[in-house]
Each structure stands twice: as C-alpha cells, then as structure tokens.
C-alpha cells in the first residue's frame, strides 16, 4: 500500500490543528488533574531530603559502605540439565513466531492484538522490571540461543566480531529502537510492529550465525545487554550463585569499555527524555500547544533532535562530573575514560527506577488489555481464561487517594534508585581512588549530579503533561 503525497499535507494539517480544535482532552486527564492538586513540592523536598541524608550517611560511614554494597551470600544451586535453556528459548521462539502471525493477520486494534500488547506491555515494560527484581531470566527466554544451539550444535562461528567494535553496535541499535518507540507515528500498529520485530529477529539471528551467540548477544544485541545490566541490579545473581544487596552484581563488572558506559547513559537519557517530551515545558519549547497536541507525526524531528540533544548533554555533564571528581581526588592512576565508563554503570539503578516510574500507569491500563487479549487472542469472542464480561478500567486515575498512591509509588522508585546509585557510585569511587578523603572529595560533583537528577525525575512526575 502506498500513501499518496496528495492525501497528506502536513502544513495544512498543522493549520487545521490551530484553526479547528473543538475537543481537546488528555489521556488520563483526571490523573493529571489530581497530581497537580497533590502537595508535590513537599514530596519532592522529602525526596531530596532522603538523597541528602544518604550522602551524609555515606560520608560518615564511608569505610563501611563498600562492605555493605558488596555484601552477598551464596545461593544454594540446583543443577539444570543442559538442554533446558535450549528448550525454554525454543518455546520463546515459537511464541514469538505465533505473535508475529497474530500481528500480521490478527485484529488491527493495538489494544486488542496480542503482538503490540506483548511487545510493549509485557516485554518492554514488565520484563525489564522482572529482570531487575528477580535476576536474569532473559538468558533462558531469549528467542535466539535455542534455535542457534540446534542449528550450529555450538560449533565455532565462521567469523570473529572485531574487538574494537566494543558495544557500539548495541548503542546504535538502542538508539534506533528508541527513535522508533518515541518518534514513530504508529509504533503500536500490529503489522508495522510485526515487520520491525521480525526484521530485528532476523538480523540478530544472522549476526549470531556469523559471529556466535555469545559475542553478538553480549556486544551487539541491545536488549540482551539492557536486560543483563538490569539483572545485575537484582539481589539474585544466578551465575555467581549469590544473593545480596541490590546492585552487588553490577560492582562485579570490571573495566567496562567506554561503549558500555555510553550505553548505560543512553538508557538513562532516553528514559528521562521519554518523560520530558510529554511535559508542558517541552511542548512550549517546540511551539506546540499542550492542550491541542497535533499528533506524533507533527513532532518527529523535534523528538529525534531532543532525544539526541538530551543524550549528548547528559554525557557531557556526566563526563564533566567524573573529570572534576577525578581532579579533586588528584587521581592519575586510571584513565579518564576508564573512570567514566565505570561510573556510568552506577547510573543504571536510576534508569531502572525511571523505567518503573514512567511506565507504571501504562502498565496498569495496558496490562488489563493484555489480559483481555490473552483470553481472546484472535478477537473471535473466545474466553479462554473464563473472565466473563471484562471491562478495562482506569477508575484508579479518578480518585485522589489512588492517584496519590500511584504518584508516591513512582516517586519512591525514583528516590530509591538514586539512593542505590549513590551507594554504587561511592563504592566505585573508593575502588578507583582509594578509601578516605580522595574518594569522598571526588564524589562531591557526582553527588550534586545525583541530587539534580533526583530533582529532575520528581519534577517530571509532578509536571503537567500534554502529549
């Protein structure tokens, strides 16, 4: 199908938005309305207070913080038969294939079709949260390793992935994915999504066939890297068979390459911008009336430019904080880029906290649609889960008490993630710059960065939104 140019005249459409706009409304306007009535200033002050208290605590007990952050216990282990991960991965591949068929041939409504609901709600929103809380499940469920094991019988791959590529392919991949998720006019469209997902599966399968699953998944497949990094935040570290303080798995990552550090910052910047681009403030910057959002088609370029600009700014500011801390600590033992990458991984809890906070409301609504689609996967009127008449509700956005609970849950995720990031950054500083005064002094810029970022995160939750 081709869309003829004459059918869509963007300037005319934009003019129409300005001239004719008789029914402005907002998705979940009542929730937004209640948020604006909440004493969010006081809540934000309390959040910042918790961050400052954490900083003081770390300064006083800095000798013990590293021991705390890395504390873990040995988990009892169960020996799995070697074929089991292959089987679970194959099941995952079969499910994905079924979903792709549903995406291409099933109902066109993205809130009825199981493909967009599974990809965006279950996999993109819920699965990373599960990884962060429960540990690395993805290595069992990714849809490539099983089929690769069967096809290659774990023989050596024909090609070797150049070391100098680092994790840059994953950075590119995640950038492209983020552009699709944030700027594409119809990322939920079942057929469109099926094409993208199927295409990505094929590219990855090809990469694995050529360069081996281990290398490709660890350095090029952005979702495996993202999910592995989030899994490193979990108390459960299955490979090390340990259970400990959240994030102790991350501290075990030694000498991360610069590309991995940038990848971590990319996760944070895209996550943050995904909230920023909905605010009245951002819409005012790009000249859009927040009460009459003209649609994603009209803001593709500003969204892409904003996402790229925000990422570059974040990297520069973060790099400056690392450089200043290193200078204050008078450290010349390690290279700047090495320190940059090592510290960059400590922002991962924040990226995780933002993920939880940003998507919580979408999960609450679209999770219901996913249940409805599971009971009737082909929209034939079936009720496999025996739900009876099932109406999706957003009633929890309509009362002050539930909106307050939702907001405080989101804010708690943001604040808790910053507390964990502070602990990880402090522990990292001690490792890099030695215990005592140098490490403490080096953390002043990073502490300011974290306080500012907490403020940004809580402000994003409280700010009026129009897109």
């Amino acid at each position: 199908m081709t869309i003829t140019k004459r059918s869509v005249n963007l300037p005319l459409l934009l003019a129409a938005v300005v001239v004719v706009s008789t029914n402005p409304a907002n998705a979940h306007v009542s929730e937004q309305g209640f948020v604006l009535l909440l004493p969010t200033d006081a809540y934000i002050a309390a959040g910042i207070g918790i961050i400052l208290a954490t900083l003081i605590f770390l300064a006083i007990f800095h000798n013990r913080s590293a021991a705390f952050a890395t504390a873990s216990r040995h988990l009892f282990t169960v020996q799995n038969p070697g074929w089991l991960p292959t089987l679970t991965s194959l099941i995952s591949t079969a499910i994905l294939a079924t979903l792709l068929v549903i995406g291409l041939t099933g109902p066109r409504d993205p809130l009825t079709n199981l493909l967009p609901l599974t990809i965006w709600t279950i996999w993109w929103i819920l699965f990373p949260i599960a990884q962060g809380l429960l540990g690395d499940i993805w290595s069992w469920l990714n849809p490539w390793t099983g089929i690769n094991a069967l096809a290659t019988n774990n023989k050596m791959p024909p090609l070797t992935l150049p070391t100098k590529l680092g994790h840059w392919p994953a950075c590119l991949g995640f950038g492209a994915f983020s552009a699709f998720a944030l700027a594409d006019p119809a990322p939920d469209d079942p057929a469109r999504l099926a094409t993208f997902v199927g295409g990505y599966w094929l590219i990855t399968a090809l990469g694995i066939a050529l360069f081996g699953a281990r290398e490709w998944l660890a350095r090029c497949e952005c979702f495996t890297i993202l999910l592995s990094l989030f899994a490193a935040l979990s108390p459960f570290q299955y490979r090390k068979r340990s259970f400990g303080v959240p994030g102790h798995g991350l501290l075990a990552v030694q000498n991360p390459p610069i590309s991995l550090g940038i990848f971590a910052l990319l996760l944070l910047s895209v996550g943050s911008f995904d909230g920023l681009n909905e605010t009245f403030w951002w819409l005012a910057q790009i000249g859009v009336n927040p009460l009459a959002f003209p649609g994603r088609s009209a803001v593709i370029l500003p969204t892409l430019a904003g996402m790229a600009g925000f990422t570059v700014c974040l990297c520069i500011i973060f790099g400056f904080c690392v450089w200043l801390g290193k200078t204050l600590a008078n450290n010349r033992k390690s290279a700047f880029w090495q320190d940059f990458s090592t510290f960059a991984l400590t922002v991962l809890p924040i990226a995780f906290g933002y993920h939880v906070a940003h998507y919580l409301t979408a999960l609450m609504v679209n999770g219901q649609y996913a249940i409805a689609a599971l009971t009737d996967p082909l929209a034939t009127g079936a009720d496999h889960l025996n739900l009876g008449t099932f109406y999706v509700t957003t009633g929890f956005f309509n009362t002050q008490s539930t909106v307050r609970l939702i907001w405080l849950t989101q804010a708690s995720a943001v604040v808790a993630s910053h507390v964990l990031a502070l602990i990880l950054a402090h522990t990292t500083a001690q490792r890099l710059y030695g215990a005592g005064r140098p490490a403490l002094v080096s953390q002043i810029p990073m502490a300011l960065f974290m306080v500012a970022y907490t403020l940004l995160g809580l402000w994003l939750l409280a700010a009026p939104k129009g897109a």
């Binding site: 008789t22 029914n23 998705a27 306007v29 937004q32 309509n398």
Partner: protein, 427 residues
C-alpha cells in the same frame, strides 16, 4: 433564528433505475449474490487508541462494540452482520489519513466511522473523499457543517459545537443572568466558545462583559480572577486540560460562599468523578451535557437500554468499577451513528462498495429521527445539505455531587443558517 431543514430529494430516477438494474443482475447471478449478501458489512473504526484522545477512545470503542452487538443480535443490516475493523489513528491527523486509506484499500471496508478529534477529521476527510469512502464522524466539530469538508463526510450522530454553544444562550440569559464573563483557554477551542456564545447571548439581549483568555500552558489561575468584573452575573467557563481541577479549586477559593451563577461545559470534566475532593465548589453550578451522565428521574427506556448495553451504571460509570466514569456526554454518538448507517444502508438497499453513493444519498434524505433505542440521547433532525445533525441539548445543575437535569433545549434553539450544500457536489 430561522433555519430550514428541507426534505432531501429522494434517490434520483436514474439512480433508482440503476438500483433496479443491479437487482435484476443480482437475480441472474444468484449464487454470487448469496455469497455477497451473507458477507459481513465492514465498518472501518478510526479509533483514538493512543495519543491525547485515548481516554475518549476507550469509551468510543466500548459504545461501538455494544452497538454492533445489538445491531447484529437484531439481524444485522439487510441480514448481513456488521464487522468492526478497528485501527488506531494515534489521535494524529496524518496517521488518520493513512488509516482511512487502509480501510478503503487494504481491509475492503464499506465505510469509515468513529473519529472524535477535529484535527484528525480534518486530516482524514480529504483522503476519504478521494477514495470515495463514506466517512461518518462522531466529532461534534463544526467542520462538517462549515463546508470545509466534502460530500463523503457526514456527522449524523452527534450535534456540533456551534449549535451546542448557541443553544445555551436562551437559558443562561433568561434564568442565570444577562451579564456574562467568559473564561476560556486561549486557542481555537476557547475561541469557538467565545465567538459562538457572544453572538448568541447578544441575540438574547445579554452581554458578555469580559472575555478572559487563559494561556494554554497556565496551571495556576489566581491572577486572572480579579479581572472578573464586579457586576458579573454569570461566569461561563470552558477550561480543559490537566489544570481543570486546579482551576475549579482556585475559583472556589477566590469567591468563597458568595459566588455568581456559574455555567460550564462538561468537556472540562468529562470522565471525571464530580464527587472528587476539590470539586465541592461546583455545587449549584450548571453544565452543558450532550447526554445526561446521571440517570434522571424522567429517564427514558431508551437511555436505560443503552446504559445496560454499554455497561454503564446510573452515575455514568462502568458497571465493573464505579470510579471508572465514562465519556457519557459524547459517546452516544457512536451508537446513534451506527444505527443511522444501518437505516441508511437498508434504505439504499446497500449491497457493497458500489452502492456507497447511494448510501450517502439515503442518509442525506433523512430528516426526523425520533427518540428510540437507536437514538437514546433524544430526538434529532438531520440536515442533508450540511451533513450535520441537530438535537436537544441538556443543562444540568450539580446537586449533591451529581448532575441533575435543569433544562432541555429545543432543537430549534440549536439551528443556524446553512453554510454549505454538500448535495450540490458530485460524487
């Protein structure tokens, strides 16, 4: 105000002959027609699933599904079942045009239907015209009757904002007061209210003594309230967006117990629970409603049946969650439009896409639509020339945190001069 809504010319002789010819042809290829006649009629449902219209889209979908279930249970259209092909337009005009194209070229839909947001209608309608796809919008925008669209775009199931606003003037002037201060957001939506209501109030001998335009990005309103003239008898407010609750709260704090009469459009608080804390100030104030959210003492059997079908309780909330308030003032338009499509297709003996122009002519020929199970919002009159329906509007007063019907306008109150005659456009 005078407004003539003439009987539309019935199907032309030439078209009638064409229809008869088609019937003869159909009889001669019986097997084919049999297969055709039992095939579902495909309705392309352009729904705001994502984007700023998603809250409305959810209820438009629910109402549409309920209407289709009812129509199909009653035998469908000419014995053929209705099938909904829902596509998300993202509340995005450009995407809307693409969706319309998919309905016509990919999904083989007979018609497109269901769009609410005006800018999406504006973006989609030209493509529907080019593809000769009847496009039934449920938008309440004045864009259809203004003549800016085309013969393939119709709005037979919901009244437009111009008629809604002007119909408020007689009641406001006679019952609430003649000196009105308007508070509205400073963009097209607010400007429409300002312009339509000012003119209508003047015609009733009243006067808008102050027009307070609020920038769309504003989230605190205390600095605007001192601009309200002291001799104001009525405040007409039509604020929208996330700051509406703040607006109501701050207005309540500004006036305290001695407030003027206050009148608003329920668009501000559509799908918001009126018993929410902070909205106590709205007690004794008035709202326009497209369809009374709360079941009234004089509730019709039609409204009762409609509520049950959609799964809405007597407070306008979902039967599965009393806090899940519906977009009751607007969503009836989906229900009524689908019933009009049924009536139009049956009148035109619609067989398939080749009969699309016959369908439009059949709808253009419609005039009176009495209150019924097909029209639970109330009686309406369709103007085939402007492709716009006109109907009763409701003014409700907040009493005990509920909207109680205070006045029902006549249909005549809603009429205005024709601004276009689409029937002069060729197919």
């Amino acid at each position: 105000m005078t407004k003539a809504i003439d009987q539309k010319p019935s199907l032309t002789r030439r078209k009638t002959l064409k229809t008869l010819g088609a019937g003869a042809l159909a009889a001669s290829v019986g097997c084919y027609v049999q297969a055709q006649s039992s095939a579902p009629i495909k309705v392309g449902f352009q729904v705001h699933r994502t984007g700023i219209g998603a809250a409305y889209g959810r209820w438009y979908d629910r109402t549409t599904q309920a209407a289709v279930a009812k129509i199909n249970a009653e035998g469908g259209i000419n014995g053929r079942p209705l099938e909904i092909v829902a596509e998300d337009d993202g509340t995005d005009p450009k995407r809307g045009a693409e969706v319309v194209e998919k309905f016509a070229t990919q999904h083989g839909c007979d018609i497109a239907f269901g769009t609410l947001f005006s800018h999406v209608v504006f973006g989609s309608s030209p493509r529907a015209g080019e593809l000769k796809l009847p496009y039934f919008v449920v938008s309440e925008g004045h864009h259809v009757a203004s003549g800016k669209l085309n013969r393939y775009t119709l709005q037979p199931g919901i009244t437009d904002v111009k008629s809604q606003v002007q119909a408020m003037a007689p009641y406001v002037a006679e019952t609430l007061g003649k000196k009105v201060t308007m508070i509205y957001p400073d963009f097209a939506f607010g400007h429409d209210h300002r312009d339509y209501f000012s003119a209508a109030l003047e015609a009733q001998g009243g006067e808008v003594i102050a027009k307070i335009a609020i920038p769309p990005t504003e989230t605190s309103f205390t600095k605007y309230f001192p601009k309200i003239p002291r001799d104001t008898e009525v405040i007409y407010h039509v604020m929208v967006g996330p700051a509406v609750l703040t607006f109501v709260k701050e207005m309540g704090e500004f006036f305290g117990p001695s407030k003027p009469q206050i009148f608003g459009f329920i668009d501000s608080l559509e799908a918001v629970d009126l018993s929410s804390p902070g909205l106590e100030f709205l007690e004794d104030t008035y709202f326009w409603e497209g369809h009374p959210r709360y079941a009234q003492a004089n509730q019709t059997e039609y409204d009762k049946t409609y509520r049950a079908a959609v799964g809405v309780d007597n407070n306008g909330a979902s039967i599965s969650d009393p806090k899940d308030v519906s977009t009751y003032a607007h969503m009836f338009g989906c229900w009524e439009t689908l019933h009009i499509v049924k009536a139009g297709m049956e009148a035109a003996d619609y067989q398939g896409p080749g009969d699309r122009s016959k369908l439009i002519e059949a709808v253009e020929a419609m005039t009176d639509m009495p209150a019924s199970d097909a029209h639970p919002q109330g009686a309406k009159v369709f103007n085939g020339r402007t492709h716009q329906v006109f109907g009763h509007q409701y003014i409700s007063r907040v009493e005990g945190g509920k909207l109680v019907l205070a006045h029902t306008t006549s249909i005549e109150d809603t009429l205005y001069e024709d601004e276009v005659d689409y029937t002069t456009q060729s197919f």
